[in-house]
């Protein structure tokens, strides 16, 4: 393989990895932007999304098949189900803690994450489950590089989701309310915005995007596991920070950038795939130390 082929192949890998990261990072960034909470359970909601999708798809496959139609249906249903669960978690666990010290709410988020992954572990006995899809391996050649239709469809779907989200946040009244709450909650209350409703909506959207990413990952990798959300949660947070936490275009940019960096990083001599995670966590640490606001983030002035 020539160098161009390798680069092209890594570009394809990086784009698909990056779009998963971006979808999960969006949830982090939206929740963080609106209530300044680092939702540790977010990666687990991604995992849960793929498991709920797995269950729905197993039911649906007898009626509408396990092709793209089935995947689309189960994706929509799983996004709704997991999104509602996200709202439930917010109501039960985070609302009572909002006035508590930051340490308490972080630990609560951690406990929620533990409940979710231990729950799935208990239900599945810690097994890897094969995602019940039957997709062809068709695709097309670009020189020595082979790109499957699955890869193109998944990247396309995540871009569509991101564009829809962008339009929602910037063109609708609800989106405007979200952006306003991120700036000043109390002022929003005075303006007659139902703050709690909008926060719940934010959780719903963020969580359902993670669930969508979970199903896509299940389709792409072919197997799902209760612990799959941990590493991607960490990576997606890295992506959100790269782009500037709280910024929606930043999360998309950061996710794609991290995916590309990772897949090109595996080609650098001495950084094989086994060092991939060290590579991205080092980026995270260096970034937080030297430029904690990220690429598109704004510097926050702390008032006392």
């Amino acid at each position: 393989m020539s160098i161009q082929d390798i680069l092209l192949q890594q570009l394809a890998n990086g784009l698909i990895l990056g779009s998963f990261y971006a979808l999960v990072a969006l949830g982090y960034t939206m929740v963080y932007g609106i209530i300044k909470l680092l939702n540790f359970a977010h990666g687990d909601l991604y995992m849960l999304g793929s498991f709920v999708g797995f269950i729905i798809l197993s039911f649906l496959s007898t009626y509408i098949g396990d092709g793209w139609a089935g995947i689309l249906c189960s994706m929509v249903l799983s996004m709704i189900a997991v999104g509602l669960l996200g709202v439930l978690i917010q109501r039960i666990a985070y609302v009572p803690m909002l006035s508590a010290p930051r340490l308490s709410i972080l630990i609560t988020a951690l406990a929620v994450s533990m409940v979710l992954y231990n729950g799935v572990m208990a239900l599945t006995d810690g097994q890897y489950l094969a995602f019940p899809t039957d997709l062809s391996y068709e695709g097309f050649d670009l020189g020595n590089v082979f790109i499957t239709n699955t890869q193109i469809i998944l990247v396309g779907a995540s871009f569509i989701l991101m564009i829809v989200l962008y339009l929602f946040v910037h063109k609708t009244l609800y989106g405007k309310a979200m952006r306003a709450i991120a700036i000043d909650q109390d002022a929003c209350r005075l303006m007659g915005i139902n703050v709690n409703k909008i926060i719940a909506l934010t959780f719903f959207i963020g969580t359902s995007l993670a669930a969508a990413a979970g199903i896509m990952a299940g389709t792409y990798y072919g197997s799902i596991h209760f612990f799959m959300g941990f590493v991607i949660g960490l990576k997606a947070f890295t992506a959100a920070v790269i782009g500037g936490i709280g910024s929606i275009p930043g999360a998309m940019l950061g996710g794609l950038l991290l995916g590309l960096l990772e897949s090109f990083g595996t080609q650098i001599p001495f950084i094989g795939t086994e060092w991939k995670d060290v590579f991205s966590f080092s980026i995270l640490i260096l970034l937080l130390v030297f430029k904690p606001t990220g690429i598109l983030g704004k510097t926050e002035i702390e008032r006392m």
Partner: protein, 329 residues
């Protein structure tokens, strides 16, 4: 000089609380008596317990030490550290590598492990302690993962299968190789850890930690160098973890990177939070709960971690300060 009665105390103190059960508990004399009784009971446990019980209790003392170490970071200084297992790993691997591959005497590896884990604390804490608490949590989490992956990928650490054949330590020609020997070793370590924690808590540094935890900006305005104070907490916590790791390696004689997964860090953190952050008896109770809960509920099988997690969540929601919280002064 600071008047001892003015010391902001989070321990069992306060002569201003007479009468009733608390009045009986509080005076210095009775407290010493209770502590001595508890210590004697702890020493006598091997007489009545079988090997299984001893193994569990040894584990309890081991987690008491780890939790007290993390308590310095989380409880005293108020910094959320999600990668504490990394320091524990650094200590264990230092001892493991030096004894099994270089034939160094176990006792000589302890000072080395102290230095290495303190350095690890400095390296990760130095640049990151200026960050906000939630960023710090993620950075420490990433650091914990980095340490584990390095241990898995390097040759000197034995790769994914880890190190085996770590020599058991000898003391005055007597080799520690029975579980009962390690029971006493870890009991002594736990008592030492309690003592050091107690002294630290009531030192000038301990008070500085409390001020920084309660209000960073006000503390800085009072002339406390908040980054330096946090760094102290971080490094001292790291040393606790490192020393515990040394003895862990000696007890197990084999270590593998999977021991130091993220779940290990979370488990230690749970011990601290469950009992009551920043309070020594609370943390000890937390460590007991941590080890005994899975043992008692062994019958639940794979559900027990779920039950544990749910209990954790309920405690956070209804008693965010822990089972036996520190008194606010």
């Amino acid at each position: 000089m600071v008047n001892p009665t003015n010391t902001p105390s989070t321990g069992i103190s306060g002569q201003d609380n007479p009468g009733g059960l608390s009045g009986w508990l509080y005076p210095q004399k009775n407290r010493m008596f209770i502590l001595m009784t508890l210590a004697v009971i702890a020493m006598l446990i091997p007489l009545v317990s079988n090997n299984y019980g001893l193994e569990v209790m040894t584990n309890v003392w081991f987690y008491v030490m780890l939790c007290l170490g993390l308590n310095i970071v989380v409880g005293y200084a108020g910094l959320l550290d999600l990668g504490y297992a990394a320091f524990f790993a650094v200590g264990a691997y230092t001892t493991g590598i030096l004894t099994s591959q270089f034939g160094v005497n176990f006792w000589l590896t302890i000072p080395v492990a102290v230095c290495v884990s303190a350095c690890a604390g400095l390296i990760i804490g130095g640049p990151t302690l200026r960050l906000r608490s939630d960023y710090l949590a993620i950075v420490t989490l990433g650091f914990g993962e980095i340490v584990r992956i390095i241990a898995r990928n390097l040759e000197i650490t034995g790769g994914a299968s880890g190190l085996i054949g770590i020599e058991r330590p000898t003391i005055f020609g007597f080799q520690l190789n029975q579980i009962i020997h390690f029971y006493y070793v870890f009991l002594i370590l736990a008592i030492l850890a309690c003592f050091v924690s107690y002294r630290l808590q009531h030192s000038r540094l301990g008070r500085a930690w409390q001020y920084v935890r309660e209000d960073e900006d006000a503390a800085e305005a009072m002339g406390i160098n908040r980054v330096a104070v946090k760094l102290y907490a971080y490094v001292i916590g790291a040393i606790f973890g490192g020393v515990a790791g040394c003895f862990f390696a000696a007890k197990m004689t084999a270590i593998s990177p999977e021991t130091f997964m993220f779940q290990q860090s979370v488990l230690i953190l749970l011990g601290v939070v469950l009992g009551g952050m920043g309070k020594i008896p609370g943390v000890i109770i937390g460590a007991f709960a941590l080890v005994l809960f899975p043992e008692v509920f062994r019958g639940l099988g794979s559900m027990r971690m779920l039950v544990f997690a749910v209990v954790m969540l309920i405690i956070m929601l209804y008693r965010p300060e822990g089972i036996w919280p520190a008194k606010k002064s």
